[in-house]
Symmetry: C2
Subunit: 204 residues, 2 copies
DNA sequence: GTCTATACTAGGATAGAC
DNA sequence: GTCTATCCTAGTATAGAC
């Protein structure tokens, strides 16, 4: 195996373990064993455990390319089709987390442990989405499509809350304990629907 | 210090540390040091680290007494005042997690680590609330107060999602990064409002 | 690129004195 | 009830051979 291949393989194994046990809970011994190499190999490719942990961010940044949720729905935002905007944001996020549950778990662990990894990611990737969505909602309030007496940030919080909580529950145990067993499409439809009716202009 | 006092003190210190670093990420050495005693003392009161971890559940069960969210709003449920039901459930939960953020964090860590602690708690305390709320929503659908085409469990998921995500964000960094700085009352009002309008009968 | 061997610290847990 | 000393394993990291 070439250097790059091995490096990538170790990184993938590490992501899996970090996503299960967090930074402090994962040992370099485990990573080495799971990758089928000696510990010396791990430290050959990554100077420290910390460096290996941070490499996750770079890897995810590369993997995602330039694509982020904002770009994907830019067209919909321009069209001001609220339902499509929220439905697609929700569905994309749920699908994304279903396809790659590890990264979300790594971030949760990192946030709970108080590790800087999550802060870096949130500052770079989450805050901008928050801002964009808040701005969109404020704009739609001016248009009269959304009630003016709701705080846009609270709406975003509600939206993200439904999304993250559902994605995390799916990843953690819905496969096992069928508290709620629905497709991502159905979830996205229901959540977008609740949110939009919830903040829409009051009925006459 | 008497045995019980010491035991309780060690437990409290342990909860704080487990809530920060999770089970695997917390060491008995740290616990002992933070409690100002030797490690031997820790193992005198708790046979193993695992036993100490599980003692958190018993302690919280005792502390909460018999009171759980269901009892607290039983009267409101009977009155079928939807807004009061959801508002109070939300506000109680947010206040509770604000007063005692450690426990929520311990549970999150435990769930992410795949430790049985969280499963025990969820089975005993969360599932019943889920069931109660789903049943209430189904009943209100029969009454025509809530649209019949929504899945009650999805509504509960949306509700709990807003609540847990907001509580966790508050605990993790809203004090620091003021993405959303509102009182629990305001949050509960907004979330209950969004949810109820969201699932209410369609406007004519 | 990969390994074995190793250094050294930290982790969980116990023995036995006071 | 509390400590020091200790056991043994596991954890991070490095040296040096192949």
């Amino acid at each position: 195996m070439t250097g790059d291949e091995r490096r990538s393989q170790i990184l993938h194994v590490a992501i899996k373990l970090f996503s299960q046990y967090g930074f402090r809970g994962t040992t370099t011994k485990e990573i080495a064993r799971a990758a089928g190499v000696s510990e010396a190999m791990v430290f050959r490719h990554f100077a420290t455990k910390e460096e290996l942990y941070h490499a996750i961010l770079d890897h995810k940044a590369c993997e995602g390319g330039g694509s982020n949720p904002c770009d994907e729905i830019a067209g919909l935002i321009a069209s001001k089709d609220d339902y499509q905007v929220f439905y697609n944001l929700m569905l994309n996020a749920l699908n994304h987390h279903e396809a790659d549950p590890e990264f979300m778990r790594v971030l949760f662990h990192s946030a709970l442990e108080g590790h800087e990894l999550s802060e870096i990611f949130i500052e770079r990737n989450i805050v901008p989405v928050y801002e964009l969505m808040s701005a969109y909602i404020a704009e739609r309030q001016k248009d009269g499509a959304i009630r003016a007496d709701v705080n846009p940030r609270v709406v975003v919080r509600a939206f993200v809350g439904m999304m993250i909580h559902h994605a995390l529950n799916n990843s953690l145990w819905d496969r096992k304990r069928r508290l709620l067993d629905i497709s991502n499409e159905e979830a996205a439809r229901a959540f977008a629907d609740i949110l939009l009716r919830g903040v829409g202009p009051a009925a006459e």
